[in-house]
Structure formats: structure tokens, C-alpha cells
Symmetry: C2
Subunit: 264 residues, 2 copies
């Protein structure tokens, strides 16, 4: 068995555990395979969302879109999108109303959900680590800090909202390298959207993120900001979408696709 | 006035000439600015097409999608999509029925056309030339040779069809460089989809392209194939779409966006 086959076995095993009821963050599972954000919407909202993603590709890089009502994706053909994510969030009229471990009953009620699988920065973080660049939230063992920015996404139909950004502190001497490494992954957020000067992004206090956890920014480090896959959840809230299912933060969908597939 | 402003003036001047009635291929106009393929479809077909493009990004890299009925694009805010392309093709039930210089009357009849602007390989050809790699159809002064391939696109809704590929002969010693250069432009078809062995792509005779013109392949050169922006026209035909407007081959939409914007 080669390394890719072994990684895929480990991905299938992780998905089976989540399907059986395990709830845990997916970071570090099946290394080398891409993890994805999920948002499932009624068919009637699918065009607006797909257009929103096309117009905001750094925040919403789409890896796959399912057929209406289908729980299957080409990213992992044996997987079941209703059950194979450890934890789901349920949204009604833009409000978070529930977290569930099995989304099958909701899928059955809605009938025509279209699911969007969206790139996640876990993919390029592996390359940053390999280049010897510390990824602070990993070394601190917490979630990446995320902030609502003052940058409006380009609206599409009924969908609008601000871009959510994630932040990683990078030594000034290595910022350029971090840009180059992440730029080559346009399908998973790509290059930073802003480097230094958090205030110009509308961030008043870097120590108080809107989502995730604060991390230390050391002397000589620059806060570097990437478009974040939480943006769709912010858009669901801001646009008062009547119904949506998403993954819970950090509880991603593990695909069978190697990270290298998205390297330009 | 800087170089970008001069290029944009030259783009605006070219669009004004086409609007006034000039019909000519756009190659070489406003160098440094991106040119785009156009396909305009009734609103009722927009989701299928946007999904088709998402599923086949190498053949259909979307640069912009307009609001229904709008003739404006963020790619060139002063331009009018109904008139600023030198020559349009009109399709009914999958058949080419007309070529027109002014599409305004058709736009008025249809009311809700959604326009898709799609990346074009002109963008990366400039970089190949700069690297000293001969682009044969440019040096021969003809159209790029294009072939229907045996590779089926991933279908979406009512849309299906085969991938059309363009071919450029590249010296064996420079194929690797041509891959690297074009891979960094995923928004304009990106890296080749096939290198050498035309028969495995279903191409029986490289000297008889399905669209465009044959070019010489010299001793020591490898035929290199890229996904081609003519694919949407092949899909319109294969799927018998009831109505569509496209640009005529080689008669592109000149944007105000610098090529470098699409460089990863």
C-alpha cells in the first residue's frame, strides 16, 4: 500500500468514527489529505451562493457542489455528507439554532439541499510548517484567531456580508515566503488579503478575535491576514438565509484528495 | 500617465472602434490587458452553466458573471457587452444561426441574459513569448489549432459535452518550463491537460484541427494541449441550449484588467 492509500484508509476510518458518534476537531487527522468547510442550502438559494463564491473566491473557494438532495461528493466517493462530519451547525433565518452530530433527519426534511464544499487553510498550513514557519495556533494548541473585517464581499443576489479573516503572526523576515507559499494554493484561500496594520482592516484589538482564540504576537512579528472559510457563515447570518447546515468550526469534512492536488 | 493607464486608454479606444462597427480579431490589441471569452445565456440556464464552469475550471475559468439583463461587467466598467466585441455568434437549439456585429437587439428581445466572461489563453501566451518560447500560431500568423478531445467534461444539470483543447508545439527541452509558466495562471486555463501522444486524447490527425488552423510541429517538438475556452461553445451545441450569444473565435472582449492580476 502506498502513502496515499494509507492516508485514504485513515480518512475513511476517521469518517467512520464520526459517523458512529465521535465528536472531535479534525486537525491532524489523515495528514496530507484536504479538509473542507461545508455549507448546505436549499436548492432555491444555490445560484446566489455559487455566484457569491465566484465573486469572492478568496473567501469561498469551492472544491465541489453536490446534486440537489445528494449526500455524495466526488471529493470522497464513499463518504456521506449527512453523517461524516463530527459536528454540524443548524441555521434558521440567520440564527444559529442547533448543533447536531447527525444531520440525516434535517436532510430528509429539506429534500433538495445543495452542498458546497469549500477549501480550508489547513492545506497550506502544512506547507508553512514544512518551510519551518511557526503556525502559532498550532504550536499553542488552539483555534486560529478570526476577525470580522471592514471589507465587504461583493454581493450576489440576496447574499451579502463582510469578509472574515484569519490571522497568523509571521516573523518580518519570512512574510514574503509565507505569501509565496500560500499564493500557490488559490483553491484554499491563496495569498494573504492584508499584511500588518490590523486597524486598516477594521480590527481594533488583535487580542480579541471574533471567532477562535487569541494567539501571541511576538516582537518582530507581523500579523498576516488571510480570507477565511468562516465567511459563508457570516454571510448566512447577515443575509438571514432561511435554512442552512454548516460544519462546526474546526470540525471539517475530511476528503480523499491529496493537498498537492490544489498546489499550482 | 503610467503604463497601465495607457493600456486602458488603448483598450477603451479599441472597444469604441468595435462599437462603431469595426470587425477584426483582437489579438495584439491593448497588450498587457486580459482578453475574455463571452457566453450569454437566459437566466434560466445560468445555474447550470455556473455549476458546469465550477466543475470544469480548466476549460471554463470564470472571470465575471453579470446581473441578469445587465450589459456591464466589473472587468471594464465603461464597456457595453452588447456592442464592444467585434463579432458575436448567435446560437439557437445548439445550432449556429447568425454572426452579428451588434448584439443589442438580441439583448432587448431576451431581457434576462446572464453573461459569463471566461479566461483566454492570450494571457499566458505573452509570458511564453517573454520566456523565449515560440508560440507557433502567433509566429505563423494564424489561429491556434483546436481539437475536440475524447475527454468528457463533468456534466452539470442539462449541460454536458467534451473538452476542447488547444495545441502548441513546444521543444522537448522547454516543455517543463511551459508547464510552470502556464500553471501559474489557473484563471486562464492553467497548466496543460495532456502532453504528447495526441491519440490518447482521441486526436487522430494533428494536422487537421476541428477549429482554428493547423500549425507546423517541428522535429524535436512535443504537442502540448491546454483546455480551451471554445469548450462552452461545444457544450452549447452538444446540449442543444435554446439560445446563446458568444463571441466569434478570436474576436474577444478586451478588459481593463492587467494580465498580472491572474498570475498566482
Amino acid at each position: 500500500m502506498n502513502a496515499l492509500q494509507r492516508a485514504r484508509e485513515s480518512a475513511a476510518a476517521a469518517r467512520a468514527r464520526y459517523r458512529a458518534g465521535e465528536v472531535a476537531p479534525t486537525a491532524g487527522q489523515a495528514p496530507g489529505l484536504t479538509q473542507a468547510n461545508l455549507i448546505s442550502l436549499p436548492r432555491e438559494w444555490a445560484y446566489d451562493f455559487l455566484l457569491f463564491a465566484q465573486r469572492n473566491p478568496q473567501a469561498c473557494p469551492i472544491l465541489d457542489v453536490t446534486e440537489p438532495g445528494s449526500h455524495q461528493t466526488v471529493l470522497a466517493e464513499q463518504a456521506d455528507l449527512r453523517t461524516d462530519i463530527p459536528l454540524y451547525r443548524v441555521w434558521r433565518d440567520g440564527q444559529l439554532v442547533d448543533e447536531v452530530q447527525d444531520a440525516s433527519p434535517l436532510w430528509a426534511q429539506q429534500g433538495d439541499l445543495v452542498s458546497f464544499l469549500i477549501g480550508c487553510s489547513f492545506t497550506f498550513e502544512a506547507d508553512l510548517l514544512e518551510a519551518g514557519i511557526d503556525v502559532r495556533h498550532i504550536s499553542q494548541g488552539c483555534n486560529v484567531p478570526m476577525y470580522r473585517s471592514n471589507r465587504q464581499c461583493r454581493p450576489a443576489g440576496r447574499l451579502q456580508g463582510e469578509m472574515v479573516v484569519s490571522m497568523r503572526p509571521i516573523p518580518a523576515s519570512r512574510v514574503s515566503e509565507a505569501v509565496k507559499i500560500t499564493a500557490r494554493y488559490p483553491a484554499v484561500h491563496g495569498a494573504p488579503v492584508h499584511i500588518g496594520e490590523p486597524r486598516l482592516l477594521g480590527i481594533e484589538d488583535i487580542a480579541r478575535p471574533d471567532f477562535g482564540d487569541a494567539v501571541a504576537v511576538h516582537e518582530g512579528e507581523i500579523p498576516v491576514f488571510w480570507a477565511c472559510g468562516v465567511t459563508p457563515q457570516a454571510v448566512v447570518m447577515a443575509s438571514r438565509v432561511p435554512f442552512a447546515i454548516t460544519h462546526a468550526p474546526g470540525h471539517m469534512f475530511i476528503t480523499d484528495v491529496p493537498d498537492s492536488h490544489y498546489h499550482v
